[in-house]
Symmetry: C2
Subunit: 159 residues, 2 copies
DNA sequence: GACAAACTACTCGGATAGCATCTGTCCGAGTTAACGAGG
DNA sequence: CCTCGTTAACTCGGACAGATGCTATCCGAGTAGTTTGTC
């Protein structure tokens, strides 16, 4: 059970986009250069964030990406769901109905499987924790000089 | 980010092993027949539970698997970690050090990356919820006649 | 100098390989229980 | 009746294909800003 690296990329990109909001929009190439990431593949991931309504894309020359709403209103849950998909990790295949369960009365399956319910409880706790943290919180936790460093590095890319 | 079906299989098998404790050990074939699962692949997953110390295997004729300790002392976290591996879903690749971060002083990386810390917080909430539930809790939540049905179905397999 | 057309730079979306992991199967080695032969 | 060796059933561990999803790249289509050409 492993999470793709697109989540890490997406969150760091949201952070940079929040710091360099006045430089917006930032192109894929510049954004990729800030973290030495493969530009084309990063673009694919950013497009997922656009589809989810977290970023907006500006086409044309000097185009790029910018945040669709203030950092305080972008939760980590939003980004994870956008990149990894909305469905939960555990998928119940209802094996309780197979084999020995085949002869059980149908009403016994009216309520959810106990195993699935337990896994769902854990999944909800995970989602609740992700939804409680925003990109603004990440900005507050970052080193004080990180924004300036990103801004300088970005200016060098433009020059 | 999807979890393999081995977790579902493992939990249901632990449940059956707890119900039919006096019939132990249960062979892979019989256990697989109770849920109509591919026997050989199920065995591979059960071996993972043995390596984790959740089950014990009895070799030889009339051999099979049984619980290594009482159901109340087997948490869902134990089973998930045994089947899916112990490492957490989010893996920080330290992209903060690449590109713009390359010129930052080394001491800035002494504490963990904010993004990784946030994801870790959610992961811990997930693990805490899994560790708080045991196989005994699953037994209590299951339908009252499910154990008897499993026992009858199992007796038919032996006959 | 003003306007329009062509041009450039960029993004979007899909199509396409390469790779890793998950799913599933097979086989040989080792272990135990049951059975049978011999004393 | 007891003992020992053989047979059978089972598990363990690893080795080996197929399927699925993730990583990564490329190309054509569309859009906005810029440049060039014409009046």
């Amino acid at each position: 059970m492993r999470m793709g690296e697109g989540v890490e990329w997406g969150l760091h990109c949201c952070l940079v986009l929040a710091w360099l909001e006045d430089e917006a929009p930032l192109s894929t190439g510049r954004l990729a250069a800030l973290f030495e990431l493969p530009p084309v593949y990063l673009k694919k991931r950013l497009q997922a964030l656009v589809r989810a309504g977290i970023l907006t894309s500006v086409p044309g020359a000097q185009g790029g990406f910018k945040l669709a709403r203030p950092p305080a209103r972008i939760t980590l849950m939003d980004v994870v769901a956008a990149v990894e998909g909305p469905d939960e990790a555990f998928r119940c295949t209802e094996i309780r109905r197979r084999g020995a369960g085949a002869e059980a009365p149908a009403r016994e399956f009216a309520h959810a499987c106990g195993v699935a319910a337990a896994m769902r409880r854990a999944d909800l706790a995970w989602r609740r924790e992700l939804a409680a943290q925003t990109v603004a919180d990440l900005m507050a936790a970052a080193p004080a000089n990180a924004p300036d460093r990103a801004r300088r590095h970005y200016a060098r890319l433009r020059g």
